[in-house]
């Protein structure tokens, strides 16, 4: 199911019409250049996924093109029974395999390290192809597309169909959790894992899709030109395509098309003006520097301006408040909602931790901590700085796995599982830092967190969750709202997934006093409304006593007190841990 906005449909229609008309209007040579542009656009679109969307610098797109070209030539030379289009697809798939292989190091390498690795890969592919040569190169072998696409015009349309299929496929992926995960991983890997998305899989799919596009582009280019040589795919062109992808904003359809258009046509324009063709690379590089100064990409800037204007107009019509929707829930008093368990979960404790011990080197962060959070309740974990509260959350959610002891959520053991697996098994968390995904709309972010299938969030549910937490409407981009609201969105997304237990790490940090009390009322209502037990880590004692029915106090990694708020707050050890020995009467 692909929901398309009016603007998106208009754009897609316009592009489709353009692709149909172009070869009818243009002459022979111009159709050749246009086909070249379209093929380059396919490659740039791949960069738009891996770099534009997932934020990983890839400097080897032309190497994937070379691999695709090599495979197509080999198949055409040695395997005769298979149709051309199947050969093209196989070429793309082989490149995809290489893409996943190149993506594997990206599970540890990031930023400039990854950039260097991909550039070295590009140079190595060039070295190998120079040594091996392209199939049929020595005998002057030339690929001839089958008769139904042998005319330049038909071949353009053939490439246009492949471009369209890829564009639709990527647009579809972008709207699924796969695409949203690309943005999430770009923003924060921990944040993505906490939403139940595997970082490894996300990175590898991005590299795979990108390489698939590259491989298909290389194969199509051979179909256009007929042959390929050692000089057809210089590694420097990988850098040029990368610069171009930044310049145009390759993650968008129009950006990719613009990239292909620039790459193929600017050299032709320049030579018409009797300016040397290689000046075009200089233009791309200078354009990329300008793009880097002002953010990323021409297409992005245009889109955001258009979207912002459209929304302003919409808001004006509706007369809605620009920031948050008005709270529809009268704040309830204290923790009235959660005194006494609510029937939820039903497998014993929502969270049961036994004898949890964790060391960082010589430092013992947690020493044999045991605690239970009953279903339908809000518990709080408090303690001075360095007491081990965040380590506790990291252990329970799997971000730290070198612990001893056992962690059980709703009756099933989580030990040894990766964070994203734990997230899908019923334990969610929020972070002290803002780890929401500014690229996504609030709705996309919520859907990424909640998941697909039976868990899927209905529009009514989405609206109700958002208004419960006083969040803006779902079509706002997360990056457009203030940081305090983003923290609420993070909490909303965590509970909307209806986990057995949700761990909130200082949700009130940065909120004003009144807002923080409103949050307390909301947190207290989470168990009855969403069926999730809550473990609240917080310094704001007012919030803690207002929301929680059970408090556990940590100091130097050990539980020093546990019980109802009034008992715990009066406990000598707690007072001394917080205020020092001399305050204890």
């Amino acid at each position: 199911m692909l929901r398309v906005s009016r603007g998106g449909a208009g754009l897609a229609g316009g592009v489709a019409a353009l692709l149909v008309i172009v070869p009818i209007v243009l002459g022979g040579f111009d159709t050749f250049v246009a086909t070249n542009a379209l093929i380059t656009a396919v490659a740039v679109m791949g960069l738009g996924v891996v770099t534009g969307r997932a934020g990983m610098i890839s400097l080897c797109q032309v190497a994937f093109m070379a691999i695709g070209a090599w495979v197509l030539l080999w198949l055409q030379l040695h395997v005769h029974a298979v149709p051309f289009i199947v050969d093209v697809l196989i070429a793309g798939l082989v490149a995809l395999v290489f893409g996943v292989l190149v993506g594997l190091p990206a599970l540890r390498l990031r930023g400039v390290h990854l950039a260097l690795m991909t550039l070295a890969f590009a140079a190595t592919v060039d070295v190998v192809l120079n040594a091996v040569g392209f199939p049929g190169g020595s005998v002057g072998f030339s690929v001839l597309p089958p008769s139904w696409i042998s005319s330049p015009r038909d071949y353009f349309w053939f490439c246009a169909v492949i471009f369209a299929v890829l564009a639709i496929g990527i647009a579809w992926l972008n709207r699924t959790r796969v695409g949203a995960s690309w943005s999430a991983v770009r923003n924060s890997e921990r944040g993505a894992a906490a939403l139940g998305r595997g970082v490894a899989r996300t990175k590898l799919t991005a590299f795979g899709v990108s390489a698939l596009c590259g491989g298909l582009a290389g194969a199509l280019l051979v179909g256009l030109i007929g042959t390929a040589s050692e000089t057809s795919f210089p590694p420097v062109n990988s850098l040029v395509l990368f610069a171009l992808a930044i310049l145009v904003g390759a993650r968008y359809l129009e950006g990719a098309l613009l990239g292909g258009f620039f790459f193929a046509w600017i050299p032709v324009f320049l030579s018409d003006l009797s300016i040397p063709q290689d000046v075009s690379n200089l233009l791309f590089a200078v354009g990329a520097v300008a793009g880097l100064r002002g953010g990323f990409g021409a297409a992005e800037g245009i889109r955001q301006a258009v979207q912002a204007r459209a929304r302003r107009r919409r808001e004006k019509r509706k007369g809605a408040a620009p920031a948050r929707t008005q709270a529809r829930h009268a704040p309830r008093t204290a923790a009235a909602a959660n005194r006494g368990p609510v029937s939820a979960g039903g497998h014993g404790a929502a969270l049961e931790v036994r004898e949890l011990t964790c060391h960082y080197g010589q430092v013992r962060a947690l020493a044999s901590v045991s605690m239970t959070v009953e279903p339908g309740t809000v518990a709080a974990l408090i303690g001075p700085n360095g007491a081990g509260k965040s380590t506790f959350i990291d252990c329970v959610t799997g971000f730290v796995r070198s612990y001893s002891g056992s962690i059980m959520v709703a009756g099933s053991l989580l030990d040894g599982l990766a964070p994203h697996v734990r997230a899908t098994r019923g334990v969610r968390r929020t972070f002290q830092q803002d780890r929401t995904v500014p690229d996504l709309t609030i709705e996309e972010y919520m859907r990424l967190a909640v998941g697909a299938g039976s868990a899927r969030l209905s529009p009514a549910e989405l609206a109700s969750v958002l208004s419960f937490f006083d969040c803006p409407a779902g079509d706002w981009r997360v990056g457009e709202v203030d940081v305090g609201t983003r923290r609420l969105i993070e909490v909303a997304a965590a509970v909307a997934a209806r986990p057995s237990v949700v761990l909130l790490d200082e949700p009130a940090a940065g909120l004003a006093g009144a807002e923080s009390m409103r949050l307390a009322a909301r947190v207290a209502e989470i168990p009855s409304r969403f069926g999730s037990a809550v473990l609240l880590v917080e310094h704001d004692m007012e919030l803690v006593t207002a929301a929680a029915s059970h408090i556990v106090v940590l100091d130097f990694g050990q539980v020093i007190a546990a019980g109802p708020p009034t008992d715990v707050m009066a406990h000598d050890l707690v007072v001394s841990a917080y205020l020092g020995q001399e305050f204890v009467a």
């Binding site: 610098i57 400097l59 190091p105 540890r108 390498l109 990031r110 930023g111 400039v112 390290h113 950039a115 260097l116 690795m117 550039l119 070295a120 890969f121 140079a123 190595t124 070295v127 190998v128 120079n130 040594a131 924060s188 890997e189 921990r190 210089p234 590694p235 420097v236 850098l239 040029v240 990368f242 610069a243 930044i246 040397p276 290689d278 000046v279 690379n281 200089l282 791309f284 590089a285 200078v286 990329a288 520097v289 880097l292 100064r293 965040s390 990291d394 971000f399």
Partner: protein
């Protein structure tokens, strides 16, 4: 003995890789950029020298000095762009700008100097030293000595002088330095200029042994970065050792006709192995 000869003939490459590696390390530590344009900057200087010798009939020495100046000038220009527009950007974005600079410099280089192959001057042609049947060119020895001297100089300056330590401190916090009245911007440009000059000397020395076209000389940045990676982008010493090692392996692979076409693929192996080993515990993108 043949293997030893081949290994030694890789020394000239090793010297150039080591020099570029030292430049990459210094740039990474001092101005927070993985300078993909390092060899391209050097190549620009190299081509100036080639033209001076080839067309204007200059002798090698003065041409090399002008090459170094041209490299320094090109680099200073890049550094000025970086310091003016991207001083607050993170390493990733600054390095992306360096990629754009690579493309710009090679485009300009191809335009100015053309694509026709040129006669590349050789330092001390014919001068060789024989040690037990192994022939070493004087140029290789000169480059080797120069590289070690540079590495020692950089190390002494950065780790043993007051100014060097202050420079290092300021490179971590350029804005704080500006607030303290230190001309951080001009110091950064100076670092660019010095590494630009060194890169020019390195690429000029190795140019006669490579196919001297602008792009392939510019791509010497890859083995240079492999050398820097062996120094974990921190140690100039290890970068020198790494560069020489990569050069020696490349030289030795010449002995095998099966391996020699793949000699230039060796840096990838080094880069992947070193980076993955050094980053093996970086499971997450942020510490917490």
């Amino acid at each position: 003995m043949v293997v030893v000869q081949d290994a030694v003939s890789g020394l000239i490459f090793g010297g150039a890789y080591a020099l570029l590696g030292v430049c990459v390390v210094v740039m990474f530590r001092m101005v927070r950029v993985l300078n993909f344009a390092q060899a391209a900057i050097g190549t620009f200087g190299t081509y100036v020298a080639i033209v001076l010798v080839d067309q204007a009939g200059w002798s090698y020495g003065p041409a090399m000095v002008v090459a170094a100046l041209a490299g320094a000038g090109t680099a200073a220009l890049c550094g000025l762009v970086m310091a003016s527009w991207f001083s607050d950007a993170n390493t990733e974005r600054r390095s992306t700008v360096a990629i754009a600079m690579f493309i710009s410099i090679s485009a300009i280089g191809l335009r100015v100097f053309g694509t026709n192959p040129r006669a590349v001057p050789v330092l001390l042609p014919g001068a060789v030293i024989r040690i037990g049947g192994v022939v070493i060119t004087a140029a290789a020895i000169a480059l080797f000595v120069a590289t070690v001297a540079v590495a020692v100089g950089v190390w002494l300056f950065l780790d043993r002088t007051r100014l060097g330590i202050r420079l290092r401190a300021q490179s971590e916090r350029p804005q704080t330095a500006e607030l303290l009245g230190v001309p951080a911007r001009w110091l950064a440009v100076a670092v660019w200029a010095v590494t630009g000059a060194l890169a020019a000397v390195g690429t000029l020395a190795v140019a006669p042994s490579r196919s001297a076209d602008f792009l392939s000389l510019s791509l010497l940045v890859i083995p240079g970065m492999a050398a820097a990676a062996l120094g974990l982008f921190r140690s100039t010493w290890l970068a020198v050792v790494g560069g020489l090692l990569i050069g020696l392996v490349a030289g030795m692979s010449q002995a095998s006709s099966a391996l020699s076409p793949y000699a230039d693929a060796f840096p990838l192996v080094v880069i992947v192995a070193v980076l993955i080993w050094s980053q093996r515990s970086q499971v997450w993108d942020a510490a917490r």
